[in-house]
Amino acid sequence: MPELAPLSFANGDGPLADISVLELVGEFGSYAGELLSGLGAQVRRLPHPVTANELEAVRQELGEADVLLRSGGADAPEPPQLDPAALRSLHPRLIQAILTPFGSDGPKAGCPSTDLVRLAAGGLLWLGGYPDGEPVAPYGGQSTLCTAIFAVIAVLLAVLQRDHAGVGATIDVSAQEVLIQALETSLPEYELTGKVRRRAGSAPREAGTGLYPCADGYVSMVAGRLGTARAWRRLREWLVEEGVPGAEELFEQRWETLEFRQRPEAIARFAEVFGAFTAIRGKLELYLEAQQRSIALAPVNTPAEVLVDPQLAAREFFRQLPDGTTGEPRTVPSAPYRFWTERDEVVAH
């Protein structure tokens, strides 16, 4: 954005430049530290779990810290000297965020977990997978990342509160509760209609919406619902323009209604017509062509393809940083947000 200037928080002027963070984390929490550090906080990672020998050092550091990020629960036991309530009374201004699988109290607080088990408890696992098979988890330890994001949100709220009122807070973040934020319409659907939503897989649930195979993989498309009625028309026009056999048929009156497009025969017929078109085209070509027509179609990218995505490349999204442990260069995404300001502010500053 040439007309605006990027705000960089690297030079000690980030919104959290005065905040020092101690990280005592196991599986959870390291992404939280990363996000806080990106906003200018000084983040120190301590070994976890803390051994008796390290206790004194940890206690000293705590005297200086504004925020303590710690993972808790059965998977991350800590010595009794680091009991959250005791630390809090010793350091009333301390903001302590405890990241746990199921929360710090309740009958199941002490249960051990893995990402898969947390996804089961949070209801997200139920919605994933193939209709004819078992529930399948999303890739990549999403429960830990999501919990870290909400921990940072809670920490920032607590920092604002401390700015105003001078007191710290003990924050209890539950991964199970975090995942329930991601259940889409399934809760209101049950409450209003009594229907329990099941996993639907990625196959189309209506003609025009879902995953479709193409020459080199798959594309994902949404055309027809949630305000995309025009895209559904443009999609059919595109197919007619390209002389796809059967495309004219899609302009028959019955294809105008969502009710018809959700019938199995409509889903199958559309997949046949569209499939013949996509079978001889690559996902990138389909993506660029569809988007020229404002149709929400995207390639199902591999990570290697994400690395060469033209938009991300133009925005210089990927960076090379030395790996935290090995020091080898590592390709990492930039921060998930960018801050901008008027140019004159930067000059004046």
Partner: protein, 403 residues
Amino acid sequence: MKDVLRGIRVLDFCWVGAGALVTKLLAEHGAEVIKVESHARPDNLRLSPPYAPGADGLDRSGYFASRNNDKRSFALNMSLPKAQELARELARQCDLVTNNFRPGVMERWGLGYEDVSKTNPSVIYLAMSMQGAYGPHTNYVGFGSTIAALAGLVHLSGQPSREPVGTGTHYPDHIPSPGHALVAVLAAIRRREHTGRGAMIEVSQLEATVNMIAPAIADAARGGEPARNGNRSDLACPSGVFRCRGEDEWCALAVRDEEQWQALDGALDGGRLFDDARFSSPEERRANEGELERAIAELVSDRDRDELAQSLQAVGVPAWPVLSSVDVLEDEQLRERGFWRSLNHPVLGHIDAPAAPFRADGQRTGPVRAAPMLGEHTRELAQELLGLSDAEIDALTAEQVLW
């Protein structure tokens, strides 16, 4: 912390997906969120099921209600120049202006960051479009599901032997995009409180989602080929979902170390497993993972899923029933922690809504007031903030400006 954002006024143009969840959490923590839409152009979610049975009109959607609690609704027909003028005046009086439109929409209304910051220099402005505010694909359209595909998450999720399956939802809309946007907004609020300066925050929903698979990106950059691996994990073996007695009843379980493996023995009554040389060490179990999964599947196929999970939890094995939307409403752990809040909505009736997923000093925050009717707060806001008289409001309503 339910009042920590008191005094922050938000002019909210976040419709449909990700953005609405940002302003929802702000509203739940004391911000005054003014949601702008109109009868001429309602938020698409108002037209999306599930609906209250037997109800009609624009206030019957449970989908809309689940994302817009605690906000105030201001009906303003943005296709009319007079409405745009009123919106600009509102923007002048707000601390935060938010939208998740395609780049260009707000600018056409004279509500881009540069327009708003002229009259309101300390404004915090959140723009969270699909792919960011600049770049060759900046105008591309998408949804959570297509962004998950573009970002690599769909390809990586599913069984290795089958097509990719993703999360079964518009996942980026629910946590990756709104969660990251909230982090940025709260940081910008603090910066403003300390320096008096505003900022524009740009969230590309694609970039927010790619951050959720950073290790796979690093792996691919080194020449690796990260791939779908079903429910298996590098950190546990076995790690899987097993069918139990009943229809579509499953239990997730995982074993991270030798101690948990021993505990699994007792709980599954699995002498057959543990005497088996194929499963005698972590390396053997990893090498024979498919057979191990089949053996466990056989042992648990007639167990009650809740009883199985409890017996595993009792001996320290990570396990949980795979909970559906009805199960989570009944889950003991969530209930004991006071997670559900009952809201009363004039059209939908009583609905249980999840609280914010954290507590501060034991205190819950979360939804208090059900989502507004379209235009419910138009009159009071027009009086309060725009200084309009009843007669002026009536006239603007007749002209379908306040509409």
